[in-house]
């Protein structure tokens, strides 16, 4: 055996700067949380927030700076992972602020402030992993921390039940992914994604069936994790049971990270054989869009409604990717990625904003039903107007980020000849208007309940809502800054 090159701290830092910052913060926060007296524990989330922001800065610094994929570190530091990391860290910061603003200790004990960081480290690793083992470990770090986060509301049966359901279905998903990856490892003889890609070239000829089986198993497992139909059914139950900030976390960060995993694995490992299996992704995207949006129609609970809507949004996110694969060309794929990422940013902002408003309303009215929004406009015009913008953006109204994102996705789908996906996208977002209107109507046209006092949000909460609102509108009115950033990325090289 040749001389072993052991990995140095410089390597680790260059490869995993953001993760290191975040993990260190997590441990510091954990120790602080253990040591300080209960009265001062409320500072711990702020520490987490600071750590997240620091990690974000580190990530932003390595944008465009391409370190050669580090074989020893089994991670790829490229702009693909960087941009996803930035989105994840931004969302994570907003969600921590949202949790701070919710300030209901009973629902979310302070332990969340480091659990959420553990989960986010996993999410970051997922976007960068260049090795099956790293990838799977990252996935499990995200998943296991998420199970804990969902069940964290102590004394709430719903929270525990949600945690159990998420654990069971999530573990099935993990097992499917693992089972599929084991075949990938077996056929390629290595766990490095890039080496796998090269050594699978011959396997596509000799053992195509097993490779397709492996692909399908991985896709199904990923489908479970990011609630792609028909693997989506758990979503509403788990989202309902989880504390609202955690729901926002699942809806945004988990999905973003798993989407990154899906894209990287599909492109590098299975990318050789695109046209044969790529329509499958298209079909899954289509079914997901339909089921998510139709399923939301009959919901009365806003959290469940947003859960179904987020299923539909996942379908939208998959569309450019599904379309780009049909005519594989680097520029087409990058265009699709740009569209997806643009929509992902818009999705993150509008979803977190929506959940923030929901959290405020829920706290004020002790209900998550649509009726809880009755007369919100009278009780708090600011909240109602913000919610209106978030909902319009989710539905794809012009002048919001959601519209531009959908427009880009639509364009990609058409450009790649998958007009049917575009049409389904448009039709389902027309359906989406229907159920978003239910909330809008409640807010603006129903009479508020007897309790006419203004609904107050904490400053932290207002900050979250303001940031999300500004971002959503900015993305809708001035798309060029983000688009030129995305256009200038060196995705994988």
């Amino acid at each position: 055996m040749t001389a072993q090159t052991f990995i140095t701290f410089t390597d680790v830092w260059r490869a995993l700067g953001p993760e290191v910052v975040l993990a260190a913060t997590a441990f510091i926060v954990m120790i602080v949380e253990f040591l300080v007296p209960p009265r001062t524990r409320h500072i711990t989330p702020w520490l987490s927030l600071a750590g997240t922001v620091a990690a974000g800065v580190v990530t932003a610094l390595q944008l465009h700076v391409f370190y050669a994929t580090l074989q020893t570190a089994s991670v790829a530091v490229d702009d693909f992972s960087n941009i996803f990391m930035l989105i994840i860290l931004l969302s994570c910061a907003l969600i921590i602020l949202l949790a701070i603003g919710a300030s209901r200790k009973a629902e979310l004990p302070f332990e969340y402030s480091y659990m959420i960081l553990f989960a986010t480290v996993g999410a970051l690793v997922l976007t960068a992993a260049n090795d099956l083992v790293t990838l799977y470990v990252g996935l499990e770090l995200l998943s296991i921390s998420s199970y804990v986060l969902v069940a964290m509301h102590r004394g709430s049966l719903r929270s525990a039940e949600g945690g159990l359901k998420y654990l069971i279905i999530g573990s099935i998903g993990s097992a499917l992914i693992l089972y599929g990856l084991s075949f990938v490892y077996g056929l390629a003889g290595t766990t490095q994604l890039l080496s796998i890609a090269s050594s699978l070239q011959s396997a596509w000829v000799t053992t195509p069936a097993l490779l397709y089986v492996a692909l399908v198993l991985v896709a199904a497992g990923v489908g479970v994790k990011m609630s792609v139909a028909p693997f989506h059914q758990w979503t509403a139950d788990v989202y309902e049971g989880a504390p609202t900030p955690v729901t926002a976390y699942l809806a945004v960060v988990s999905k973003a990270a798993v989407l990154a995993l899906l894209i990287r694995v599909l492109l590098t490992v299975f990318g050789q054989q695109t046209p044969e299996w790529w329509p499958l992704i298209g079909w899954m995207a289509a079914i997901t869009m339909v089921i998510g949006n139709v399923g939301a129609l009959a919901q009365r609970n806003v959290k469940r409604l947003l859960a179904f809507s987020s299923i539909g949004q996942v379908g939208y996110l998959l569309v450019p990717f599904a379309a780009a694969g049909v005519t594989p060309s680097a520029s087409g794929v990058y265009q699709g990625l740009s569209a997806s990422v643009y929509y992902l940013v818009a999705y993150a902002l509008m979803t977190i904003g929506g959940f923030a408003v929901l959290q405020v309303v829920q706290a004020a009215r002790a209900s998550e039903e649509i009726d809880a929004f009755s007369g919100l406009y009278k009780r708090s015009p600011w909240l109602a107007a913000s919610m209106l913008v978030f909902l319009l953006s989710l539905a794809g109204m012009p002048l919001t980020g959601g519209f531009v994102g959908k427009f880009l996705i639509f364009l990609t789908a058409f450009n790649d000849g998958q007009f049917w996906l575009g049409v389904i996208l448009f039709a389902t977002s027309a359906v989406a208007f229907y159920y978003y209107f239910a909330i809008v109507r409640a807010m603006f046209t129903r009479q508020p309940p007897d309790d006419q006092t203004a609904v107050k949000a904490t400053p932290a909460m207002n900050t979250v809502i303001a940031v999300c609102l500004a971002g959503t509108l900015l993305l809708g009115v001035l798309p060029s800054p983000l688009m030129s950033l995305l256009g200038g990325l060196h995705w994988f090289s």
Binding site: M1, A15, T134, V137, V148, L210
Partner: protein, 174 residues
């Protein structure tokens, strides 16, 4: 020859172990008494450990015995007894309709997997020689501290998260 394979000690032990695993697994699905289930559980995990050792992965086999056949089985048995309400018997089973549907799904799944596995021609050397140049412990240690350092470190995060998390969730109201 046995199922198209030379009847060696390895083959015999494989089939014995496979029989043990599958029989224990099926028993686990059908038994209702806690102690019987514990035995079946240990049977599955020990059988898998045996398979590992048969495949030359002695360290993994040992870890399997320690973690699964030892720790997890005991933990599960404790949990079973802890959540038991009075009598020793298990709670009623799922509706037969859904069980049958599940069975159907599982059979389709297994059938296709087996078909695909059988239809796959393996291009690899099916050497009977021990492929490892060094004891597996050494090899594992080397790659843990070399190729897989990052996931290894991440694992520590997972274990911490799991430890703290389960304590946070399971502890009584404070």
């Amino acid at each position: 020859m046995f199922f198209g394979m030379p009847l060696t000690g390895q083959t015999v032990s494989f089939f014995l172990l496979a029989l043990l695993i599958i029989a224990s697994g099926v028993m686990l699905m059908t038994l209702t008494k806690v102690m019987h289930m514990a035995v079946a559980l240990a049977g599955v995990f020990l059988g898998v450990a045996g398979i590992f050792i048969l495949l030359g992965a002695d360290f993994v086999g040992m870890a399997q015995i320690l973690v699964y056949a030892g720790a997890i089985t005991i933990l599960m048995v404790f949990a079973l007894m802890l959540t038991q309400k009075g009598d020793d018997t298990e709670s009623p089973e799922a509706s037969t309709g859904r069980s049958l549907l599940t069975l159907l799904g599982v059979v389709v799944f297994t059938g296709i997997m087996l078909l695909v596995l059988r239809g796959t021609t393996w291009p690899y050397s099916q050497s009977a020689v021990d492929p490892y140049t060094q004891p597996t412990v050494v090899l594992i240690a080397q790659s843990l501290y070399h190729t897989y350092t990052i996931p290894f470190e991440l694992l520590s995060l997972i274990l911490t998260a799991a430890l703290v998390g389960s304590v946070v969730i399971a502890r009584k109201e404070d």
